[in-house]
């Protein structure tokens, strides 16, 4: 179980390979890996976005993400879980968040990764400020709900 806050761009596939190589020992027990990658779009709320700054609350971020992973581990039969989240200046196409869940059976992996992602969206203290094409800045007001297209 690990939570990492990154101040620089990360390649989720390299992070996953490194984490699996160093942290996952019961590989023969793993039947299901569910992964989610959130990346920065160049379009939001009808406007082109050329960059964003992600502020967070150091310490509380890690504490809340740890609690979310523990809650997931308690609720489903998981082998391991991982969250990586960017902060600082981010540009379109760059990954913002990676959620990974390893389990024996796919139901647990699917349920837990979605739970972790929704919990992160509603509880982890990150705030996005978008930079628009006309150099205007605006704070994103509220995350959308993740259980329907929006």
């Amino acid at each position: 179980m690990a939570v990492t806050i990154c101040t620089h761009p990360f390649n989720p596939y390299e992070v996953l390979q490194a984490y699996e190589a160093t942290h996952l020992h019961a590989l023969g027990a793993i039947g299901a890996t569910s992964l989610f990658i959130g990346t920065m779009r160049d379009f939001n709320d009808g406007d082109h976005v050329k960059g964003m700054t992600l502020e967070h609350y150091p310490g509380m971020t890690e504490k809340q993400l740890d609690k979310i992973l523990i809650e997931a581990q308690n609720q489903w039969a998981l082998i391991d879980s991982l969250v990586v989240h960017r902060v600082g200046d981010i540009f379109p196409k760059e990954p913002i968040v990676l959620v990974a869940v390893w389990s024996s059976h796919r139901g647990d992996a699917f349920d837990a990764s979605r739970f972790i992602m929704e919990a992160l969206k509603s509880k982890a203290p990150f705030w996005k400020k978008e930079l628009l094409l006309n150099e205007q800045e605006r704070w994103v007001a509220k995350n959308s709900h993740g259980y329907q297209s929006s």
């Binding site: 609350y57 809340q64 992602m117 992160l120 969206k121 509880k123 990150f126 705030w127 007001a141």
Partner: protein
């Protein structure tokens, strides 16, 4: 007794500072902390509060050495 107060994101910008330190003698709630730190500002809409890095209700008590934070709805992920 003393309490640290942190502000984040758009709230930090509208208040114009990122932290306060309050010295007090009477027991306080989270709401009291807001009022004493911002006597000229009503409790802003939708602002969330945390005490020692856990979410807290505005009527929760705070103790000597606590860290209180106020911030808008989170938008990570």
């Amino acid at each position: 007794m003393s309490i640290k107060v942190h502000y984040f994101a758009s709230l930090k910008e509208s208040i114009g500072r990122s932290k306060d330190e309050l010295i007090f003698t009477e027991p306080l709630t989270v709401y009291d902390v807001w009022q004493q730190a911002n006597p000229d500002k009503d409790r802003p809409n939708q602002i969330l509060a945390a005490v020692n890095m856990d979410y807290a209700d505005w009527d929760n008590p705070v103790s000597d050495g606590d860290v209180v934070a106020f911030f808008p709805p989170v938008t990570g992920g």
